[in-house]
Symmetry: C4
Subunit: 293 residues, 4 copies
């Protein structure tokens, strides 16, 4: 989410272009970003409609032209971005730089591998800019909070996923042995696929146990899956609840004027690091005003 925000070039046409393309604060910049969003959504619709056989039959040529038009437009935009940025290489290697490149490549690849062109849908990731364009800092805050809650619990989630993978391989093999190839469990990988489908409570029904023993085993798998879904939920919930609690009682920005440490409790009277007296905390109302950065 933390896209690349390069230091602006100093003078001339490059600076003007830079301001329009990379900054969202000027009027021209906002308009450019809005036009870009519309172009992205329109190009997404083009690709989607083109994949529908009946529409392709009737409006094929139009969609083909539109598709190339958008791709050439985005290619031009990518080149201009490279030109007006002070350090082009750093932009090219930034998250948004890579997304921008990926979103124009598929159609060119499609010249060689026909089906690859539908991957143009990857340009939906360009919509991530939306948050910046529509000026939604509070949404960014929430996204950041969610992400940090998930980062904080990533180790627990890895342990959980590892156990799920272990279980799924064991259960898949067991079902392969119990049900056998004649009941649709044609190989161990397919049986593992079935175990994933079942343990996650998706339950497509393309493969189902037929023997009594298989159904009994499947019942155990399902109740297991039903029960262990509690684990990731518990992990994430506890993490979100904690982050919410911490934000509640502590003031992330309360600063000690003596040792310049931050994050002092709202009820603290002295700095817990240097024992210097703390100034009174800012009242609640004022703080929320200051919050969005």
């Amino acid at each position: 989410m933390t896209g690349y925000r390069p230091t602006p070039p100093e003078t001339g046409w490059r600076k003007r272009l830079y301001t329009i393309i990379f900054e969202a604060d000027t009027r021209a910049g906002r308009r450019f970003d809005q036009l870009l969003l519309i172009a992205i959504v329109a190009s997404l619709l083009t690709v989607m409609l083109e994949s529908v056989a009946s529409i392709r039959a009737s409006h094929g040529t139009l969609l083909f032209v539109l598709d190339w038009a958008f791709t050439l437009l985005f290619t031009a935009e990518y080149v201009v971005r490279l030109l007006c940025v002070p350090r082009p290489l750093r932009y090219a290697r930034s998250l948004f730089g890579i997304i921008d490149l990926l979103s124009i490549l598929p159609l060119y690849i499609g010249l060689v591998v026909p089906e690859g062109r539908f991957l143009t849908d990857i340009r939906i990731l360009r919509l991530l800019r939306m948050f910046r364009v529509l000026n939604m800092p509070r949404y960014l805050d929430e996204a950041r909070e969610l992400r940090s809650a998930m980062l904080a619990s990533r180790r627990k989630i890895m342990v959980f996923l590892f156990s799920v993978v272990l279980m799924v391989i064991l259960l898949g093999t067991l079902m392969y042995v119990v049900e056998g190839e004649e009941n649709g469990f044609t190989s161990i990988p397919v049986s593992i696929y079935w175990a994933v489908v079942t343990l996650t409570t998706v339950g497509f029904g393309d493969i189902t146990p037929k023997t009594p023993l298989g159904q009994m085993l499947a019942s155990v798998v399902m109740i297991l899956g039903y029960g262990i879904i509690a684990v990731p939920t518990g992990i994430v919930t506890a993490e979100i609840a904690r982050s919410t609690r911490v934000v509640g009682q502590r003031s992330a920005t309360r600063l000690c004027p003596h040792c310049f440490t931050e994050g002092h409790d709202l009820d603290a009277r002295y700095c817990k690091f240097c024992s210097g007296p703390l100034p009174d905390p800012v009242a609640d109302e004022e703080r929320t005003e200051e919050k969005p950065s």
Copy 2:
């Protein structure tokens, strides 16, 4: 939920009608509301039964007559409401006014577009009055608490839903490219539909991956969906837990005037730290009054 409660008209038949139709406190008013509820449920049953082919074949005429009878009844009621209300326009534009109108329109629309008449089922929304009629303020309180917990977390939920939509479009496109039209993934929109079915762990099974690569990708989607369900749950749970904590039995701000400690229980008469007598807590009613509605 906050229906329109207009100031009553001052005199005459309009006032009498108004009391009966809009107020639930008098005996006539209660009876009217109860009859209305029964009529709504009966009309719902009529519409449902009419949609069953075998019942329509045997009792078609009866149901047709009943259907129109209820609609004419509700139309009459709507007109009377408009007549006896002091400010008809404000009622017509209130939530319940719109629902009342919507619940009589479908049958008239059905005269033009035949299938539209089944939308009469929208009159089920009129049952929302039930809460008022059956005098269940505690249920309204709980509903309000739930709603406020969801409102408080709406930004996090929006961010979550936006990520789900991004994921579903990307995964759908990928599956379209991997599985192709011959395996049921006939177009990108259909593949996106499949991705939704899978990520939400619904798993109809009308479209399923056939190729090994597709099944592998599907397994990832399923485990992903299984894992990220934790996110909305975590968000809402943390919010409900917090609102519960605040509403809970302690008053975070109840202060002892002798030792200036805070957080005394609402039922405490003496400070638990210094044994000094506590002033009466602010009455419950007043406190909820003060809350921003």
Copy 3:
């Protein structure tokens, strides 16, 4: 769960029988209860096996005899219970009394309505006695805690279920109009059944949307269902967390020696009701020892 525990009869054979059948503390009583459990499980297996066509074909007569043997046994037991209990009517109307009666009725009913006999499975409810027999007070404690958490949140859950029913009826009707009878949505009740299958993320796949508009609507239903599952989870979690927390921070048994009120906070120095000084709380280790009652 709180079965009927009548005051014992004073003398003679009725008292002896009463002790054996109703009390679990004497050796004969324990043995009786254990034999009863085995008989219940055996009779359940009999009914289940009897329903399997192939087993019924080969061992039909044996299972038939066993079935009647168990039913006559339980009938005799029911009669003896009625005889040796001081107040038979109160036992007959207690929870376990009703279950005991229900578990012998089906076979007799089956003489008239053949299929009714399989309802003998209701005698599985007799296994609820297990908790008492196997002497598992801690499990009873946990069950009680869970039940009280669910009771405390029953109003929120009712509001949630009411919203789900509203949604399901509206969405079902909408899908009936959108998809129509030719796509499997044969009537509004069937469409409502589909909406339940989809919203709860079960997704049988016996009925699936075929039209693009229907699939779009279904996607919304699924994401909705995926999201709102967070609500009951949030409600119950918050409730369980609270009940856990209360037990944690408060000492349910800390008693004021002056006014004999209980439940004082662990950090309280004076009684919050009568301002009398409180003795020091019992240390943590000792308290957990005392806890299991």
Copy 4:
């Protein structure tokens, strides 16, 4: 997870082998463990590929040889482990000892019962060593925390599972009576299997209710299943949240010796209330040591 770590033998070749095989701290030991992991994964792939009919047809002999090669390798390893361990019997009966044995047995069993050989997949459990090999103590910590949260709530989960089993048997029997054998509910055990599939929201769709009454009952089952998933989630979440709170960054018992306030942060050096210096908190290691293991 707490594998067997025997006291090392004192001298000679046994000690050298012991160090390489059982210890992960020396360079030779690390290399041995890494090679072992690679061998395990390779042998797993062999078994899986062998189960795919088309691959077995083309590379059958190669896979057969590889399969036996890995099994002989692991057999040799098992024997060496037994030889160089001071107390072989204790190793043989430890968790990892049993897994090591189980992972070589299936192929030998397969000589008698052909299908049994695919159970070689059980050697995936040997991957549990990975945590030790890759030196991931933090992951082990998280795993331990998760496990202890689940252990602490095992009684509640048992009560929940018992209720689910009760419900599933009752609902399955009811559906058998309602739908009957002609609609796919061929016996009570099959109907119970259906009830599990439905209550856990898996919903394969291999068996679905056809009659209106059956669909109504199924709807109730689904909404029930949708609602009660909240229970295990609530249990585990509350438990994780509690364990997190205790482990959290504050020490509820850290006391200021100057003003006798409690609950100071573990990283605080001065009392935040009176600015007096705080004594060093009990070191993290020691505290976890003191916890009952």
